[in-house]
Structures are given as structure tokens and as C-alpha cells.
């Protein structure tokens, strides 16, 4: 088990493809995407109930054990959140190597 950072980003679903590209560019070793979430934040309630998905969120989870890459991911996520809203949390975790 290797120490790593667990980065979690909640963002509008429409932005997901862009964020995925940004993550790859930043060198993320991978990510998991849960593509339907609703929620509430500074910009009010997002019910996730419209057929067009305009009020639907999604959640990225990224495990990363290189500090430098974590920095780059954070730097890529920050302006995206400023522009489109959303939340990013970082947690210490252990990564099971198999």
C-alpha cells in the first residue's frame, strides 16, 4: 500500500469531457467518473432532473501518488471550478498495489 492523494471533483456533467482531457494532460494516472449526481452549492440547487442534463452534476475521483502530478491536477482544476463552479476535496489515502 502506497500513500497517495485522493482527489474528488464535483462539477457539471457537461464539463466532464473537458475535465477528463485536462486530467490526462496533467498526467493523472487514471480517474473514475460517476456521471449522475445532483446537489446544492453556492449557485443554488441542481436537481439533475432535466432531460438535457443541464442541472446534472458528476463526480471525478482521482488517485495520484506523485506530488508533482497532484500539483498539476490542482492547477488544472482550480480555474475550471472558478469558471464553471463546483467543488474539489483532497484526502490522504493508501493505494493498494496489486
Amino acid at each position: 500500500m502506497k500513500p497517495c492523494k485522493r482527489i474528488e471533483v464535483v462539477i457539471e456533467r457537461a464539463i466532464a469531457p473537458r475535465l477528463a482531457d485536462l486530467l490526462l494532460e496533467a498526467g493523472a494516472p487514471g480517474y473514475t467518473l460517476i456521471d449522475h449526481a445532483s446537489g446544492r452549492g453556492d449557485r443554488g440547487e441542481r436537481r439533475g432532473d432535466e432531460p438535457a442534463g443541464t442541472s446534472t452534476n458528476c463526480m471525478f475521483i482521482i488517485a495520484c501518488n506523485e506530488d508533482e502530478v497532484v500539483e498539476r491536477i490542482i492547477d488544472a482544476v482550480r480555474p475550471t471550478l472558478s469558471r464553471y463552479g463546483g467543488v474539489c476535496l483532497v484526502t490522504e489515502a493508501l493505494w493498494l498495489r496489486h
Binding site: 457537461a14 464539463i15 449557485r43 432531460p51 438535457a52 442534463g53 443541464t54
Partner: protein, 326 residues
């Protein structure tokens, strides 16, 4: 207003829309899951596009087709200009541009409800009006984004101009793409294709429209609740949401009169002008214009203009069209 007004009020699609409004009003837990709503909406775009294409294939080519399509694109480009300059001072460039794009574009479901209103009253309409609708989806997005780029105060540097992204969001938007694609396929396969797809795209149409409007009623009422918690600005937005369709409807009416369109086509042009997008445009704007507040453009369009057009607008515009033509 004649008996069609009351016929509309008691048509199944409208009653199911009202049932949805009621469900959310009394906070029933009735709910259409998101993917089901998506399926219903994909179906409607697929069916209306295909039917329009088939109709087009048997009636294309006249001057009237050409002028109608031109008028449609003209409307969809002019309306956003008016909306933007009227609202810029109060809402700022971003929100004004978003409102411009939203009200310049169209609501496919409002259009579809108007066609079923005409069918119920046995008023004929032309297949190329579906093409007109498809053509009206995108221009307003482009006009709105260009206006924002020109008039936003941050200077050109601050607002990244993603022309490629802009075109993608406008023309490759899922709903626009599906309608245009189905239209083309309907056109290419004509009555031979229709013979194969009729049970799905014609026979089931009104029933599925009922289910979709049930869902949209629920969603619209939730947005009304959210808006009504919004405080002072709400009343102004609600007022806008009622005023703009009437104004744009009148513009559509004038154009229809100048072109000498028949009763059915005239009503559809008016409805297209009066309606505002709450599917394609908001999806595009979230990507291309995140600076704008969705509760303004999406809230007004979905919670005010859409129900207004469905319940009051369509029969009202119809009465006006009849009065003008007779």
C-alpha cells in the same frame, strides 16, 4: 377565441402537463427518472425530424419553402439582437447575451404541441416547417455569443473566443444534430421509410408526448418554486417571460402575414418565434457562456415562457392568426 381554445385545454398532452405541474405543486413524489426523460425527448426529436423530412420529400422545392425557411432564419437572428440591447443595461452583457440566445432559439416541444393542436383541429401545415424549426435552433446561440464577445467589458483578451467550441456547441449539440439527422434521413427515405417507421413515429407520438409533458410539468413547477424563492428580481423575470413571447409572436405574425402563409404554417412560425429554448441552448450556454446565470435564462424560459405558450399562447396565437388572415 373559438372552441379550439377549450379543445386545447382539454387535450391529453396539455392535461398531462397540468398533472405534472400539480404533482410538483402538492409535492407528490411522482418522478420520471432522468434517463427515461432523456429517452422520451430523444424519441420526440427523432420522430418530429423524421416526419418532417418525409413531408419535405414530397413537397419540397417551391418558392414558399424557400421564403419560409429564410424568414425563420431571419427571425432567429434578429430576435436575439433586440433582446440583447433591451436587457444589456439591466442584466449586464453575459446575462443579456444568454437571454438573447435562449429567446432567439426555439422549443421543439412547444412546436410539437402546436402541430398536435393543429392536427386536432384538422388544420393542415407543411413539412418544411420542421426544417424551419431545425434551422432556428442554432443561429441565436452564435449571435448571442458574438454579442457577448463584442460588448463584454473585460476586453477581448479576457473572454476567450473559442470559435471552434462555439460552432460545436451550436450545430453539434445533441438535440440539434438528432433533429437535423432525422430530417435528412426522413427526406432520403421518403414514403418508403415512413411505411416502415409509421407505427413508432406517428401512431405513438401523442401518447409519448403526454408522458414527456407530464415530466416537463413536474420540472417546470420545481423551477417556478425555485424562482419564486429568488426574491426581488423574480417578478421582473416572470414579467419578461410573459412579455417576450407576446412580442416575438407578434413579430412572427407580421412576417407570416407578409409572406402570405396559410393558417397552419403561420401559427407554427408564430409559435417558433414566441418560444424559447430550454434544452439545446442552455446546454450550449453552460459550456460557452458560464458567466451567465442559468436561473435567469433557464428559469424564465422553462418555468414561465414554456407553460405560458403551452396553455395560453398556442390558442391565443391561433385566434390572432385566424383574425389576421380572415
Amino acid at each position: 377565441m373559438d372552441s379550439l381554445f377549450f379543445a386545447n385545454l382539454t387535450s391529453p398532452p396539455l392535461l398531462f402537463f397540468a398533472l405534472g405541474l400539480l404533482a410538483a405543486l402538492v409535492r407528490s413524489d411522482l418522478e420520471i427518472p432522468e434517463q427515461v426523460a432523456k429517452l422520451l425527448s430523444l424519441y420526440l426529436l427523432f420522430a418530429i425530424g423524421f416526419k418532417g423530412g418525409v413531408a419535405l420529400s414530397s413537397s419540397l422545392g417551391g418558392w414558399s419553402t424557400f421564403t419560409s425557411l429564410g424568414a425563420a432564419v431571419l427571425l432567429a437572428s434578429l430576435i436575439p439582437l433586440g433582446v440583447f440591447f433591451a436587457l444589456r443595461a439591466r442584466l449586464g452583457a453575459a446575462d443579456a447575451a444568454a437571454m438573447a440566445a435562449t429567446y432567439g432559439s426555439v422549443s421543439a416541444v412547444t412546436f410539437v404541441t402546436a402541430t398536435s393542436f393543429l392536427d386536432a383541429g384538422e388544420v393542415s401545415w407543411s413539412g418544411y416547417m420542421v426544417a424551419a424549426m431545425a434551422l432556428m435552433e442554432s443561429p441565436a446561440i452564435i449571435v448571442g455569443l458574438l454579442l457577448y464577445r463584442i460588448y463584454s467589458n473585460n476586453g477581448a483578451g479576457a473572454v476567450p473566443f473559442e470559435a471552434k467550441g462555439m460552432l460545436r456547441e451550436s450545430f453539434l449539440n445533441g438535440s440539434v444534430f438528432l433533429i437535423l439527422g432525422s430530417l435528412a434521413i426522413g427526406y432520403a427515405t421518403g414514403s418508403r421509410g415512413m411505411a416502415q417507421l409509421e407505427p413508432l413515429v406517428v401512431d405513438l407520438f401523442i401518447g409519448i408526448l403526454c408522458l414527456f409533458l407530464l415530466d416537463m410539468g413536474i420540472v417546470a413547477m420545481r423551477r417556478m418554486r425555485d424562482l419564486s424563492r429568488g426574491g426581488g428580481q423574480t417578478l421582473a423575470l416572470a414579467f419578461l417571460g410573459l412579455l417576450l413571447p407576446l412580442l416575438h409572436g407578434a413579430m412572427g405574425m407580421a412576417l407570416a402575414w407578409m409572406l402570405g402563409l396559410g393558417e397552419g404554417d403561420a401559427l407554427l412560425l408564430v409559435v417558433l418565434a414566441a418560444s424559447a429554448s430550454y434544452i439545446a441552448v442552455p446546454a450550449a450556454l453552460r459550456l460557452a457562456l458560464p458567466e451567465a446565470n442559468p436561473s435567469y435564462y433557464l428559469g424564465t424560459s422553462l418555468a414561465i415562457t414554456f407553460p405560458f405558450n403551452l396553455i395560453v399562447g398556442i390558442p391565443l396565437y391561433h385566434a390572432a392568426v385566424r383574425w389576421l388572415i380572415a
